[in-house]
């Protein structure tokens, strides 16, 4: 595997291989010295054109735990503020001799374009509304920890702003590939224009499916992307689609609550629900480091088999 650009580029075997490898890295991250020399001498650049705390820190931690050298590129303090184009920036960085670039960009498809410009491996850390593959991997890993390796028939609802969500897109691809049944729950205005080819069910009535769910996956209401009035008010949204304490009480006792973060407490999820034992939100963050180690190791650590 040279790049990780989209979950849809992977086969089920690729996906399961990455998750299996992630388990090895979970064990390593729990050690007293949570670091291995596997990728000594490899250089990873994190190139984030969009704000991020967890994803960026998670990737950088993962790279360092594999003994990579990490260079962080921050748009605000770079030549981008002098008007340098993306292509020039990327080619300049590549000329310094690097092995992988972890990219986040507001425009869908940017990681693919960068991959066509330079030789280094590219990891998509979120591109516009398109994909966020490592988020889906860490979510799948978290589900495996609670439900075992086999996710067949698992009832998952992804609730919220599906339309603007790369997390939803990657998760639908990954979870359905692993056998889960995914239902998208959102007001009609927050669904994509077309759901053709999405192997999912769709409803706008969260209450009707609540008792049947194994997993409620809440998406952040992305106020920075909501330029038009897609629902009357945040309070209205919470009333119909928020996971309130009352709604959480109607879930099955073993149902799992997930959220990719950052949370709008009191909007899509009640603060008490986020902290409850059924919440896997903190665990998702911990697993993020392990899956990103697995991704970097797979991309940078598996040289072509040497012929005899």
């Amino acid at each position: 595997m040279k790049h990780l650009l989209a979950i849809n580029d992977l086969t089920r075997a690729d996906l399961e291989g990455l998750l299996d490898l992630s388990e090895d890295f979970v064990a390593i991250t729990q050690r007293e010295i949570p670091k291995v020399p596997a990728l000594r001498g490899k250089v990873v650049v994190s190139l984030f054109y969009e704000d991020s705390t967890r994803t960026r820190i998670s990737f950088e931690t993962a790279a360092k735990r594999l003994s990579c050298d990490v260079m962080a590129f921050t748009v605000g303090s770079s030549s981008v503020s002098k008007g340098e184009s993306l292509r020039d920036t990327v080619q300049t960085i590549a000329a310094m001799g690097i092995d992988a670039v972890v990219v986040r960009h507001r425009a869908a498809g940017t990681p693919h374009r960068i991959a066509s410009w330079i030789d280094a491996s590219i990891v998509n850390a979120g591109d516009g509304r398109h994909e966020h593959p490592t988020q889906a991997l860490l979510d799948a890993l978290t589900l495996r920890h609670h439900r075992g390796r086999d996710l067949d028939g698992l009832q998952v609802a992804i609730v919220g702003d599906i339309r603007h969500s790369r997390v939803a897109r990657s998760n639908v691809a990954a979870l359905t590939m692993l056998g889960a049944d995914v239902t998208l729950v959102a007001p009609m205005t927050l669904l994509p224009e077309s759901l053709e080819g999405w192997p999912v069910r769709v409803t706008n009535d969260l209450d009707s499916i609540l008792p049947d769910l194994d997993v409620v996956y809440l998406l952040r209401i992305q106020q920075e992307r909501l330029t038009e009035a897609l629902f009357p008010s945040l309070r209205e949204y919470t009333a119909r689609w928020g996971l309130t304490v009352e709604r959480a009480g109607r879930l099955r006792p073993d149902a799992l609550v997930m959220h990719p973060g950052p949370m709008n407490r009191g909007v899509e999820i009640a603060a008490e629900v986020a902290e409850a034992p059924s919440s896997a939100i903190r665990e998702q963050v911990t697993n993020g480091v392990a899956v990103r180690m697995a991704v970097l190791y797979t991309i940078l650590g598996s040289g072509a088999p040497v012929a005899a």
Binding site: L21, I28, L66, S302, G303, V306, A308
Partner: protein
């Protein structure tokens, strides 16, 4: 361990090195030697290297317990992320590292099936060091086939088996591979292709 530099898949059986009885005698003798050299087994821990080293470590531990009444802790070590050939081939972990005790202050006997270049042992020493500071580290192997590429030697050897690099030592253990225990030497069909001795 099966090495990648065996020239082709078309190898033929050259010699049966061990049958099940030979293998049992070898690990039994190694168990005795470990006890003798360490004046008992109280401060000893066995750490097997995946995959067959783990099984052999368990057998040696069972033998030590039978002679001495001492239950020696057995761990399993995966060295994938410490190897020096990560960029040359696809190196995947073979199992979870599980060491049930703190190795610090113990005499750790690393156990593997075949000692060849010594590179796996080198990786194992690094992996072990991350987990603590053993009082001493010793190495037990079922077969030493020569061709070392690093200054490493075994403390306990089931059998020294001179080989060519074109040959392949195949260890079969019932609990890992099914069937009956055996060690076999396989080599290329064409004996005319000789290479210089080591």
């Amino acid at each position: 361990m099966v090495r990648a530099d065996v020239t082709s898949g078309r190898l033929v059986l050259r010699a049966r090195v061990f049958d099940a009885d030979d293998l049992r005698r070898a690990h039994t003798r190694i168990a005795h030697e470990i006890i003798e050299r360490n004046h008992g087994a109280d401060a000893v821990a066995l750490v097997g290297l995946y995959t067959r080293g783990v099984a052999i470590a368990r057998r040696i531990a069972a033998a030590i317990e039978a002679f001495e009444g001492t239950a020696v802790p057995v761990g399993a070590l995966d060295v994938a992320f410490y190897r020096d050939d990560i960029n040359l081939r696809s190196v995947q972990p073979l199992g979870p590292t599980e060491i049930p005790i703190d190795v610090s202050g113990r005499t750790v006997v690393l156990v593997d099936d075949v000692l060849y270049t010594g590179r796996t042992t080198r990786a194992a020493l690094d992996a072990l060091t991350e987990l603590g500071r053993p009082r001493a580290v010793q190495l037990a192997v079922l077969i030493d086939r020569g061709h070392r590429e690093l200054p490493i030697r075994a403390d306990y050897v089931g059998k020294n088996l001179p080989t060519k690099t074109t040959e392949d030592v195949r260890v079969r253990l019932a609990e890992v591979d099914g069937g009956v225990d055996s060690v076999e030497l396989w080599g290329p069909r064409d004996d005319a292709v000789e290479e210089a001795p080591e």
